[in-house]
Symmetry: C2
Subunit: 203 residues, 2 copies
DNA sequence: CAATGCGGGTGATTACGGTCACACCAGTTC
DNA sequence: GAACTGGTGTGACCGTAATCACCCGCATTG
């Protein structure tokens, strides 16, 4: 078990991380850097997910950094042990395979997001993906705890921090979202957010 | 075994493709569509690769279309049979897992590309990735057969077709690449292309 | 307490790539 | 040979998001 402070480096890029990281609490972000040093956001990791599992399959190095966006509680599982269990227990292989497949689907969706020409829609989609599944069809609002900063969202969407801020300003004045202190984001109008994300409404 | 003409749909998005597609000849492209109907290019498939393997792991639907960019020769392998073999032969699982991992790495690299603020660099990187590994360190040029069209490159890079054309024009006048008929692209100056891709040189 | 740093908010300016509108050319197809 | 079609080449124009330069407020730190 390992705890991380905000900004802590959970997994290092380039090295062969010999363990898999299971997230209990908090939020992580997979990030890469372009040749010229820009940060690129790849995916978010939510509690219950794990990351760093790539090496399990191909023995290669961890391709990207994983950073703690909030204080985080993780469990590290040594790969060697896991590989042995994988041999014996086909169920484990299945779960890990599914996980890998899920990540691929997630990255595909994220990539499609970047194709959207309308910037507000992009932000709304990303916001929508941050909402817990259970809340999505609910009538009442949803609460996102310790939401990513504007910057962290920006790098996910190939936008500048300022642009994300402006979209959020917009969403706030239209009372679709609401800040509740520093570490809480309240989605008050799920319905409208969804329609913005789907492009049925313009911001 | 199945053959496809240029533009043929190899795999359909949304449906549960119950087979895996192994590519012998030609080039395929994974494409998705944004909510507003724009094409988004996800990856290229080169001979020797396969695609459509996601369902093997999670029984989910194929997330994206796969299109034949050139006339293509493929072999379809029914998943059911493959799953059975997987159970018995752990070697097969390993190979498929590695394949999945490789695709994830590929998509990560591709995503990083999109972070590049310099458009020419983006195109050059993409071009560089199209060059066969064996040619990359060679002194002599490299030949890309049936290269993707400008449009097909554009959707990979979130650019417009015109922008890609302009970059290519630039590369041609600087004699870094050369068209050889309609279906051949000759990379004459590998060294410079590499430096452009790495950002060590401006176009 | 001051000092510092980080995250958010905002205006002015501007470069740059998208869009549109063409023209051109080489294959096909009839 | 005419008529199409798909891919490429190019100019003009324009909108928009990046950039830069600030501000504020809050939490943390010594």
């Amino acid at each position: 078990m390992r705890k991380f402070a905000r900004r802590g480096i959970v997994l290092n890029a380039g090295v062969r991380e010999e363990s898999l990281c299971f997230l209990f609490e908090g939020r992580l972000q997979g990030v890469d850097f372009t040749i010229d040093g820009r940060e690129v956001g790849l995916y978010f990791v939510e509690p219950g997910d794990f990351c760093g599992e790539l090496g399990l399959f191909d023995h290669g190095p961890q391709p990207e950094y994983v950073i703690a966006l909030t204080a985080a509680v993780t469990v590290f599982i040594p790969m060697e042990a896991l590989r042995e269990v994988m041999m014996k227990q086909p169920g484990i292989v299945r779960v890990l395979g599914e996980r890998l497949a899920a990540r691929l689907r997630q990255m595909t969706r994220q990539r499609s997001l970047l194709g959207l020409p309308n910037i507000s829609q992009r932000v709304c989609c990303q916001l929508w993906m941050l909402i817990p599944e259970d809340d999505k069809d609910g009538r009442s609002g949803s609460l996102i705890n310790n939401p990513p900063t504007h910057m962290e969202i920006a790098i996910m969407l190939n936008l500048s921090r300022e642009t994300v801020t402006r979209v959020f300003q917009n969403l706030q004045t239209r009372e679709i979202v609401k800040r509740d202190g520093a570490s809480c984001l309240l989605i008050t109008d799920l319905q409208t957010l969804r329609e913005l994300a789907e492009g049925k409404q313009e911001l």
